[in-house]
Point group: C2
Chain length 86, copies 2
Amino acid sequence: MARVVVDVMPKRAILDPQGRAVAGALERLGFGGISDVRQGKRFELEVDGELTEERLAELRRAAETLLANTVIEDFTVRVEHVTTQA
Amino acid sequence: MARVVVDVMPKRAILDPQGRAVAGALERLGFGGISDVRQGKRFELEVDGELTEERLAELRRAAETLLANTVIEDFTVRVEHVTTQA
């Protein structure tokens, strides 16, 4: 069993209106000194069985196919922790 | 200058319909062996100046105030990287 995290963020070159809105709101609430905010999605996948390289490659394909719109978003896949069967 | 990441996830006890929908879609697309999916938000904050403990405490307050709905969401704040002025 493992927890794999997929982070999906807007590509740097793409305008991020959500991030801009959050940055403006932080400023208005008095949280200064934050020059930029980008907002994306975080997925936590609980993966059964052993986490082999093939499994990770499959999860990357799943992220590419469903979790990210690769035209406007970048994604990263990383293993957060692995629980070994007792 | 530093990049601080705020991850906001639904509390474990809270039903996560988005996560359920993603899990179902992954299954239908043939990506099996994923027992649970949780979907949350990821914020990347570009913070000016030096990242002191006070600054980090302020960013936690910002996350608590604006970025997370602490009734139904948990959040974590971590420093991704620090760029020291040359």
